[in-house]
């Protein structure tokens, strides 16, 4: 069973920097203030939607419109300032996949730690080391500290770990790929498999073709408000018209 229920969700970020002025970029969260020393950025306002088993939701909108913030709230990384968030099912987020990587520890050790973070027991995580290491194609480098890897190799390991544990609800911020040309093809296949296996998908992306292909419904955010929520093609077409003029 996997479902996401969100109602009247509001998120605002307190601004600690002593700044004045209230101009925010077009399409991004706007400033709000009570007085000079209490300022916020209103990141999300009155968001609501439901997502059930097997459904795929795409999220589109300009930079700063609240896509990642919304994903973080669903992933349980940020609390709602107001409103209701109900999640049923194991959530896994591919928002910033390098989080939780310890560069001084070996590749193997990182797989173990990240497996435990994902909720596996130490023994279960240990059993996964071999297939994750094999997927990352790091050979015996897996026994060296991650600090010694090339950036492409570190990304490959990250990707292999992040996509190894299949969740009920998958949250993806921008389609991720990793590594050189040969690895990218493999990564695409793995992403597709992960999505097929997940109970529900929420994908935020600027790649409109991808969103149209992957999602059955699309949520269009603008300055933290829902501009449209409906069938993927309709919403994406409207968004295209607005952006392309």
């Amino acid at each position: 069973m996997s479902s996401v229920y969100i109602k009247d969700l509001c998120v605002r970020f307190r601004v600690y920097e002593k700044t004045t002025g209230a101009v925010s970029p077009e399409g991004a969260g706007v400033f709000a203030q009570r007085d000079r020393s209490h300022r916020w950025v209103q990141a999300l306002t009155d968001i609501g939607f439901e997502l059930g088993e097997g459904q795929r939701l795409g999220i589109i909108g300009r930079n700063g419109s609240g896509k990642s913030t919304l994903l973080k709230v669903i992933a349980g990384l940020l609390p709602a300032t107001k409103g209701t968030v109900k999640i049923d099912g194991q959530v896994s987020s591919l928002i910033d996949i390098s989080h939780g990587m310890r560069i001084e520890a070996t590749g193997e050790r990182n797989i173990l730690l990240r497996g435990m973070i994902a909720g596996l027991s130490k023994r279960q995580a240990r059993e996964r080391i071999n297939d994750i290491a094999a997927f990352a194609e790091l050979g015996d480098y897996i026994k060296l500290p991650v600090r010694t890897y090339s950036s492409g190799m570190a990304m490959r390991l990250n990707f292999a770990i992040a996509t190894a544990f299949s969740p009920d609800i998958l949250i993806v911020d921008e389609w991720i790929g990793a590594g050189d040309r040969a690895f990218q093809k493999k990564a695409r296949g793995r992403m597709q498999k992960l999505i097929d296996a997940s109970g529900a998908l929420i994908l935020a992306s600027h790649d409109l073709d991808l969103v149209e292909r992957m999602a059955d419904r699309v949520l269009w955010l603008d300055a933290g408000h829902v501009t449209a929520l409906g069938p993927a093609k309709d919403v994406v077409d409207r968004y295209r018209e607005t952006v392309d003029g």
Partner: protein, 278 residues
């Protein structure tokens, strides 16, 4: 089977009972991730002593050198028998070091976990347990020295020493509460980190560690206001004076209850907001 919660809900406006319940769940679920936080604590320390010849044994070695210097310098100034004073300094300082690390690391445990808090969904208490177990590993390596000094000075444990394990448990409990309280407050008000660190440096001299109460005359009256005096006494007195200090136990238990209530309240009420405080 997975340990991560698979069903949860977060509603914006929480009532106090709900907040307390969620706070309690956080503390409980965090504890259940013991395989994770104990591994993370070990990694932290291994990383600190990476590529050194002695590795973690440096903890024992540096404590030994440090404590010997203290014994010989302050022992020369103290009228008490040398063997007793050596044991007094070693045990007292061992507990002080543990308490100090609980306070100082408590302040920074959440601040230093920024990328984790933002990146992975774990009970926040996981970071407290990680920090506390790191402090306890360091404590264990130093305790070897303390044990040696006690044996060499002829202070073999007597019946009263049976009260030491529960005393240590009480201290660890205080460590957890300090992490909850200071972790949250310092995350929001970063100046508190500096205030606390400065205060601890001063408190070191105001705690009977390298001097004895009868040495300082009227200042001794002020010691009743220093909470660390009692927590150190409940471990030190049974080991070197073969008595259980009931007054110190009573004060320690009272303080722990008060600190526990306060820190759990602060943690439960503010934990929902803490992701915004980075």
């Amino acid at each position: 089977m997975t340990l991560a919660p698979s069903q949860w809900s977060l509603s914006g406006e929480g009532r106090l009972p709900d907040l307390l319940k969620a706070g309690g769940l956080d503390v409980g679920q965090g504890f259940l991730r013991y395989e994770l936080w104990s591994s993370l604590a070990q990694d932290d320390l291994r990383q600190r002593y990476r590529r050194t010849l002695f590795g973690l044994a440096w903890l024992t070695l540096s404590y030994l050198v440090f404590i010997l210097a203290k014994i010989f310098i302050f022992g020369a100034l103290n009228p008490a028998p040398f063997a007793w004073f050596a044991a007094y300094v070693t045990v007292g300082f061992l507990i002080w070091q543990l308490l100090n690390s609980f306070v100082v690391d408590g302040c920074t445990s959440l601040i230093n976990s920024e990328t984790w808090v933002k990146g992975v969904q774990l009970p926040y208490s996981t970071y407290f347990y990680e920090s506390i177990s790191r402090d306890l590993i360091i404590f264990a390596y130093s305790a070897v020295v303390a044990g040696l000094v006690l044996l060499l000075t002829g202070y073999f444990p007597g019946w009263a020493a049976l009260s030491v394990p529960p005393a240590l448990l009480l201290i660890i409990l205080n460590g957890f509460f300090l992490h909850m309280l200071l972790g949250i407050i310092c995350l929001r008000y970063r100046d508190v980190v500096q205030i606390v660190q400065t205060a601890m440096r001063v408190l070191f001299f105001l705690t009977p560690l390298v001097w004895t109460v009868d040495q300082v005359g009227p200042i001794a009256d002020f010691l009743v206001w220093n909470p660390f005096t009692y927590l150190i006494d409940i471990v030190r007195a049974p080991l070197i004076d073969y008595r259980i200090p009931y007054t110190s136990w009573a004060v320690s238990l009272g303080m722990t209850a008060g600190l526990g209530g306060m820190s759990f309240l602060v943690f439960s009420v503010f934990r929902r907001q803490l992701a915004f405080w980075y």
